[in-house]
């Protein structure tokens, strides 16, 4: 049952909890790990191919949902730009006392700069906090899907999934700030 996702495009916590690509609370507490928010049987397996540790399994029927082997996953993030659906994130709740690190794909201009402050949006696109850019990675192998690492308040680690750059940064006319 995926009512919320199917009717609004926003996956609910409850729907998320049933996905084989979403790590357990215990695993999350141990450090960076991939969160695969892929809830639909799509003929697709680049995530499996991309993982150097063999931590993601889709299997012979590539329509199967990706299964995360959370023991093998190191949270390297190579699966993030590989996912055509941009549905994989890496969450590290051990970053600091108050902050979590979030790695997200971000295919928009202008690319945020290290140290920059950005608005952080939840799955509905609501700004829930500010975040600080820790790292922006965009090698050729990522094929124009830059991966942005942003430090966010820990309590929103399972909510924030996108960033926009605020007006104060003098850009970003293309993203809605609120609904």
């Amino acid at each position: 049952m995926v009512e919320n996702l199917a009717s609004s495009g926003v996956i609910s916590k409850e729907e998320l909890s049933r996905l084989p690509g979403v790590p357990s609370q215990e695993r999350l507490k141990k450090g960076p790990v991939a969160v695969i928010e892929c809830a639909e049987q799509i003929p697709c397996n680049p995530c499996e191919t991309a993982c150097p540790k063999g931590a993601i399994q889709v299997g012979e029927d590539i329509n199967s949902l990706p299964v995360l082997d959370e023991a093998k996953c190191t949270g390297c993030g190579l699966c993030i730009p590989a996912c055509p659906g941009l549905a994989i994130f890496v969450v590290d709740v051990t970053f600091s006392e108050t902050e979590a690190l979030l790695q997200i794909p971000h295919e928009f201009l202008p690319l945020p700069q290290k140290g920059g402050i950005v608005n952080c949006l939840d799955r509905e696109g609501k700004v829930v906090s500010l975040g600080k850019i820790i790292k922006v990675v965009n090698p050729k192998s990522y094929d124009r899907t830059p991966v942005v690492t942003v430090a966010i308040p820990k309590e929103f680690a399972q909510d924030i999934r996108a960033i926009t750059q605020g007006e104060e940064n003098g850009n970003d006319s293309y993203l809605r700030k609120e609904r």
Binding site: E107, F108, L109, L111, R144
Partner: protein, 102 residues
């Protein structure tokens, strides 16, 4: 308006610009682009008025199927602007109805 920078497609390479005349006004166009793109780049979106009810029309399918974007080009009415490339000095006019023969 032109989309100069794009996260996936990169920056538009500087190409040769040419000039075309639209309803008597000279505008700039990029060599090789269709007339419709040049017009939209110059914020023009109204291409013609229909015969029966004089309603405004513009681009609809952008691939030469629907013929909604036709204009009078170098005196020839019913020219599909979305698939006709600009040429230096081309004369383009808003089409009224099915155009006129002079």
């Amino acid at each position: 308006m032109r989309i100069i920078d794009h996260p996936i497609l990169g920056r538009i390479e500087p190409e040769r610009t040419i000039r075309i005349e639209v309803d008597g006004k000279m505008i700039e166009a990029l060599e090789g682009e269709p007339i419709a793109a040049a017009l939209v780049a110059n914020s023009m979106r109204l291409f013609r008025f229909t015969k029966k009810y004089n309603e405004p029309r513009g681009i609809f399918c952008a691939i030469g199927r629907c013929t909604d974007c036709v204009m009078v080009v170098n005196g020839i009415p019913n020219t599909r602007t979305c698939v006709t490339q600009v040429e230096e000095g081309m004369k383009i006019e808003t089409q009224y109805g099915s155009g006129s023969i002079r």
